[in-house]
Every structure is written in structure tokens, then in C-alpha cells.
Amino acid sequence: MTDSGISFRAVSHTYRPPRGQPVLALDRVSLDVREREFLALLGPSGCGKSTLLYLLGGFLPVESGSISVAGRPVAGPGPDRGIVFQNFALYPWKTVRQNILYGLEKQRRPRAEREQRARELIDLVHLDGFEDSFPAQLSGGMKQRVAIARTLAIDPAILLMDEPFGALDAQTRALMHEELLAIIRRAPKTVVFVTHDVREAVYLADRVAVMSARPGRIKEIVETRFPHDRPEEIVRSRDFAEKVDHLWQLVRNEAIIAQGTRAP
């Protein structure tokens, strides 16, 4: 039951830049993410939402408080938590196929299985015909599809996404939303999705955790589960608009605080 459930308990984090004062980025954040839940972390830039994700990924050390996955404390990165970054983080010297194969090689799967899995994933993210292209030859949307395929290749129980569609244009982003939802319908995962886009958060997530301006705290958690079978109708529904409006007000106030000006 707690296979891929996540729990943050009083997690604080301080950045210590080489020059200047230490900055408290996160202040006693407590949060539970249920197994197979899609949770969005929403907040103004600089609120520490990415930091929270990097701590969960094990890329930064947990100095204060605790984070546990499936009941075990996080101690470094692991293949149970796959991550997708905003700027794709593809290996530019590897082709699409080689990028996707990398994680499978690390998992020491048999060669035939690796090749088979890579083909399936290339198919899944609609990159047939681009297997031997280098990332520099792809559009932004295609790069992000490769990054998602590479992360899905090792079949992590938890998918961490750090503003994965932030660098894409609006049309591409909308298509990627559909693809992402289709992918996790087929292979359900616990998803923690960092974004500052309110509509994106409401549309994709089961719950949205709104974070305050720095130091980041969880300000409010909003249920936003919508059926995804008729996307056009949902985004035009009154319920959807109200959720977006409510969250927008919360984030807006924090963004104003983050900029150091008072709310009018």
C-alpha cells in the first residue's frame, strides 16, 4: 500500500551561497503524497518548490526534518524516483535511442529486453523515425518527449517533474498534457509536478499544494480531480474556472509578496 507514498515531515532547507547570507528556502514543510496520486506543487518563482523536488529526488541532502518514500527515508537518488527537468537534461552527445537506453543499461537489463523497451518507448512518445537524431536536431517538444521516455524507461514508481513543460509553446504544452495523462493512465505512477502555471496544475493534478513566497511553506492544499475523458468540456466548466480562480488568488498574493510589494 505504501509502495510509492511520500511523506515530508517538517522539512526545512537553507541555501548557503558561496558569497552572501544563507537563505532559508523551505520552512518546516509537511506534506503527504498518496500512492498513485498526481500532486502539483504550485507557487511563485523562488518559493522553494523545485528545492522540495530536488530533496525528494535525493539530489540535495535533507538537513532538517525528514522525507520518506514507501516508509523509508530518502538517502540519495535512486531509480524508484525518475525525474524530468524543465530544460530536458538530455545527453546531447547521445542519440534519441541512446538517451533512452542509458537508464536501461544502468539497470543491467538484458540487451534484447533493453532494445525492445526502447522501441516501445519511442513508439509511446511518437518519435518513430527520430531514433538516431541527436537532441540538437529536435524541437523543444520532441526533446521533452525524449526526456520523458528516458525517465519512463526505468519504470520508476514515482515521477518527479520540475516545470517540465515550462519551456514549450502553448500548443505543444497542451499536447504534452494529453500525452502525459495518457501515459500515466496506462502505467499509473505517483507524480509530483512542480509548476507556476495555475491552469496546468488544476488540469493535470488530483491535488494542488500551494506554496507561500520564500521561505516556502505549504499554504493550502486544494482538491482538483477532474475526469480527463473530455478535456474541452472540463476546462470550460464552471467548477474548473472556480478552482483556477481560487488558486490564482492564492498564488497572486504570494507572487506579490515575493516581489516585495504590498497587495493593493
Binding site: F59, P77, G78, R81, I83, F85, Y102, K106, F134, A136
Partner: protein, 247 residues
């Protein structure tokens, strides 16, 4: 064809001037023999086997010194970027030694290693080391953090990440540094051969010069320049192939 002709036109002008100046009495022919005489001497050097013999000796020492410099330099540079204690130990030394005129080390090598190939290889090695170290260090430091994180999340060990992510990501800078080292290696090798003698194109040039065989001496100089030029061209092609993933 036309473009190639235009590109090499300055070279052609220099060749014409080289031929004309001594013949018209503008310079003394023993200070600058006409190009045709140099070409004639070059054919003679080739036919006697001297050019090939000395050229191969030079090439051997060059490849040994440069190869060693690349391997040690890349390893040291990446370790410096990756492990704080290595950086604290090596970085100040690199910064202090960098401005040192590299040819000044040749007499020191002769003192320690004697008059032989070992001193030549060591001179080339030491001369090439620092530019390679610095390029690998800068390249490895500039590696995008998220590339490393992606590999760690996929289950790679930190040591594998060094080999599989940091090294290839630093490759563009490393290859640029190696190109500098390649040019330096020619300078250092010929200088070391002047001082040490015995073998090599540098030795051939100084031997012929001291013997007053100036047309053949110039043939040696032209050979070294041409080999250096073509080595660089070849290297650029290799570099282009290795970095073919860049747009």
C-alpha cells in the same frame, strides 16, 4: 576551385616572392635560397631517406609526449573539478606554473633525464599538460548539474557518472585545449631537438644550418611547418567528427 585558388593565393604570392627575391639580388642567396633550390634540396633529403627517418623519430616523440599529456591532463583536470582536495592541491600549482615559458623546462629535463628521447618526450609532455588540464577542468566544471542528477537518478554510481557524463560533456572544451597542446607540442619538440640533437627534424634543421647547407635547412623548416599545418587540419576533421552531435 576558384574559392580554393583565392584561399591559397597569399601562399602563392609568398612563394613567388621567395623565388624572385634572391634571384633579383634583393636578398643574399645564402640567407634565403630561391624556393626552387629549396624544393630541389627537399627531394634530395627525401631520396636519401633522411627526411623520413628523422621525421618518424620526431613523430614518435611527439605522439608519446602529447598522448601522455592528454591522458594525464584530462584525468587531472576532471578530478580537480570533481574532488575538492585535488582542486585545492593542484589548482594553485597550475596557476603559478601556467605563465612559465615552457621551453625553459627543456634544460631541466636534460639535466634530469639526459640527452635522449626521454628528455624530448618529457618536454613535450610538460608543455602540453597545463593547457589540457585547464580545458578539462573548465569543461568539467561547466557540466550542467541536471545531467549529473539524471544519471544518478538512473542508478549510475558517482564514478560511472564521471566517465559517462562529465567526460563527454566536457569534450568540446577538452578538444579545444588539445588543439592548443598540439601546436605547443610541435614548438617544444623542435626546440628540444635543437638542444638535444641526435635525431629528429629539429636536429636535422640545426645540423644542416651549422653545416651551411642552407637550401636543405630551409627544406627542413618547410617540412616541419607543413607537417604542423596538416596535423592541425587532420585534428580539426577529427574534432568535427567527435562533436558531430553539436548543431
Amino acid at each position: 576551385m576558384r574559392a580554393a585558388l583565392l584561399r591559397y593565393a597569399p601562399l602563392l604570392l609568398v612563394a613567388l616572392a621567395w623565388e624572385a627575391a634572391p634571384r633579383l639580388g634583393l636578398v643574399r642567396p645564402d640567407a634565403l635560397p630561391p624556393l626552387s633550390a629549396v624544393a630541389h634540396a627537399w627531394v634530395g633529403l627525401l631520396a636519401s631517406g633522411d627526411l623520413v627517418r628523422q621525421g618518424l623519430s620526431s613523430l614518435e616523440n611527439l605522439v608519446a609526449g602529447l598522448g601522455l599529456g592528454i591522458v594525464v591532463g584530462v584525468a587531472l583536470g576532471i578530478l580537480m573539478a570533481w574532488y575538492r582536495p585535488v582542486e585545492m592541491l593542484v589548482n594553485p600549482l597550475v596557476r603559478i606554473l601556467y605563465p612559465l615559458p615552457r621551453s625553459a623546462l627543456i634544460p631541466v629535463m636534460i639535466l634530469w633525464l639526459g640527452l635522449g628521447a626521454a628528455s624530448k618526450i618529457a618536454s613535450v609532455f610538460l608543455g602540453c599538460l597545463l593547457p589540457v588540464v585547464l580545458s578539462a577542468y573548465n569543461g568539467a566544471r561547466g557540466v550542467d548539474q541536471v545531467l549529473v542528477w539524471s544519471a544518478l537518478a538512473a542508478g549510475a554510481s558517482r564514478r560511472r557518472v564521471l566517465w559517462e557524463v562529465v567526460l563527454p560533456a566536457a569534450m568540446p572544451e577538452i578538444l579545444a585545449g588539445v588543439r592548443n597542446a598540439l601546436a605547443l607540442s610541435f614548438i617544444l619538440l623542435v626546440a628540444a631537438e635543437f638542444l638535444i640533437g641526435q635525431r629528429g627534424l629539429g636536429y636535422l634543421i640545426s645540423f644542416l644550418g651549422e653545416g651551411g647547407v642552407y637550401d636543405a635547412m630551409f627544406a627542413g623548416v618547410v617540412t616541419v611547418s607543413a607537417v604542423g599545418f596538416f596535423a592541425d587540419r587532420l585534428y580539426l576533421m577529427l574534432m568535427g567528427w567527435m562533436l558531430r552531435w553539436r548543431e
